[in-house]
Every structure is written in C-alpha cells, then in structure tokens.
Symmetry: C2
Subunit: 182 residues, 2 copies
C-alpha cells in the first residue's frame, strides 16, 4: 500500500493484537524497529518472509478434485502470497482431464502422483478427499517426498516420517462460534 514506516501500534491494530506483544514477538527475530520511529515496512516484510519461509514460492499438489479441491485450486491470493497450485489429481476417471484452476490445469490421474510430484517439485500436499481415504492418501503423499500436508478431510491423520499435517476441521470453527451464542 506504499506505506514506508509503521508503528507497532498500527501493526497491532491491523491484526487485533496488543502493541506490546507485537514488539515482543518481532524482537525475537532481531532489532529492526526504531524506538519512537517504528518499523521500515519493506525491510520488515522481507525479514518476516524469510523468517516464516515465505520468501520462495511453494508449489502445491491438490489430491481430490471435488468441491473443496477445485475451490482451493482457484483460491484468490494464493499466488500473491507465494503459493502456486501445480497439480490437481483424482482417482475418478470422470474427473481426470477436467479443467481446474480457472482452466490453467487439468485434473491428472492420482496413480501418477509420484511422477507428478517429482516433475512439478510440489512441496505441500492438500488432502481434499473423503475422510475414509485421507490416511491412505496422506501416506501416498508422504511416500513421494512431500514434507507438509494440509488436510481438509474431517479425520485425524497419523503422521509418518515427520511429514507434518495440519487439519482444517470446520467443526472446530463452528464449535468456537457456538460458544459465543451462550
């Protein structure tokens, strides 16, 4: 947005945090704020991207070309935040070949997952499959050398070989909201 300098208070307000916590968190990674002046935005941004592993683009492979998988394939802002869907796979012959990601890709055969990950350099797998298929698909992703998996299936995945899983459990979000209805 063209902002050159920002105070911890301004950063904190933007994200609904406290300025003190903001300063403390950022200070863990070095001294790049100047007391009474604030942070230089371009260098703060660059440092944070490096610290968070967001400086490079991370290629994603999506397993499952149903509603969730195809929605994610065309999710806005992925690319501006350094993620890029490089492949969408499915086991359903009726889906293989269908255009996805706004026509940029076609659904590929999940049986070729190994070769697809190797050729695209995919780093993160996305599980958009039914609950009963999630663990198997996770293990298939893990076997390809993928090191991190985002799981949308409503099931707990047992991690193997340090291949990290993050499950997006929609019910948890709803349950958090239900708490506010009391």
């Amino acid at each position: 947005m063209g902002v050159e300098r920002i105070s911890s208070r301004q950063v904190a307000e933007r994200f609904g945090l406290s300025a003190a916590q903001m300063r403390k968190d950022l200070a863990r990674f070095g001294e790049f704020g100047i007391r009474g002046v604030g942070y230089d935005v371009p260098s703060l941004r660059k440092t944070l991207e490096r610290v968070l592993g967001l400086a490079d683009t991370h290629p994603l492979v999506i397993v499952g070309a149903g509603r969730i998988g195809t929605a994610l394939a065309r999710f806005p802002d992925l690319e501006s935040r350094n993620f890029r869907v490089v492949a969408v796979v499915d086991i359903d012959p009726a889906r293989i070949g269908e255009p996805v990601a706004d026509g940029r890709l076609r659904v590929q055969d999940a049986s070729a997952l190994d070769a697809i990950v190797a050729s695209t350099g995919a780093e993160i797998g996305v599980l958009a499959v039914p609950a009963e298929a999630a663990q198997d698909n996770y293990e298939q992703l893990a076997a390809t050398g993928i090191r991190a998996v985002l799981n949308f299936a409503p099931v707990q995945i047992q991690e193997v070989n340090d291949v990290r899983v993050k499950t997006v459990d929609l019910l948890i979000f709803l349950e958090e909201l239900a708490f506010y209805l009391l």
Copy 2:
C-alpha cells in the same frame, strides 16, 4: 465408542496434548475426574457439551451456493456434532432452486434472508461468497439477528453490534505449513 472411563493421559494422547494441561483445563469447569481412576466418559461429555454451548443443535444458514457453500452444506458429521444447515441462499438466479445438502434443501433467494432466518431460527451464518461481497453479506446477516458468522472469504470483516466473526483463512494454514519446510 463405548468407553466408560478414560484417564487424562488417554484423552491427552488422543488430542496430542499433555496430560497435565488436560487435567488443568478440565478442572476449571469442576471436579469431575477421580484421581487414579480417570473420567466417567458420559458425564464428562455431557458437562463439556454444556460448557461449550454444544448441547443444543445450532441451525446454520449458508450465504453463497458456490463450491465452498455447497461443500459445507453436505459436510459429514455436522449433525452428529449438533449443527444443522437449515438454509442455503444465493443471489444468482441460476442457482436459486438448485438442490443442495444432498437434496435435502434447495438454494433460496438471498433477498429473502431476513424471512429465512426468522422462519428457520438460524443462529450462525456462514459466508461462502467472494471477498468483495463478504462485508456487505456479513452486515445483512447481522441485521437479521444472527449472532455469529463463519467467514470463508479471504478478507478481514469489520464486526458490527457484537456479531462475532471467525474467518477461516486458508492461506494462514498454508503459511504455517511453509514454516515446516524450512
């Protein structure tokens, strides 16, 4: 699963937490564990459901009948965890009348949102609309008397009148995973 008693260690293992933290958290709501014996599962469950506001079924209205909205409308386990989609609305005339939620509902006209919320008693709204429409749709939901909103649009919603919003930002999950790739 028919389990009658469970130890804090077993609960903790199931959720990847520490047994000590588990005991401490549960103790905040009363003394319902017995040292050396564990927790009585049915009464623990009942207490937690009450504490968390999950004892009653919460009706949901989904705004937006695109991929995310229709995926959520048929999301497994919603009902077993006391959420029920009671309506799906959209502004697109081509979508109105389409079957959703495995044929249990039809997409209704979003312009009738007030009447739909009133007649269904919907308590939670789900925003499954493009980013540019999210704030307006949130405010329309808030005007109906809905008190909590789950937002899937990749945008920060400004809350009005204490109508709580929880945004599911898929990029945050991906960014967390990217950190593990370092």
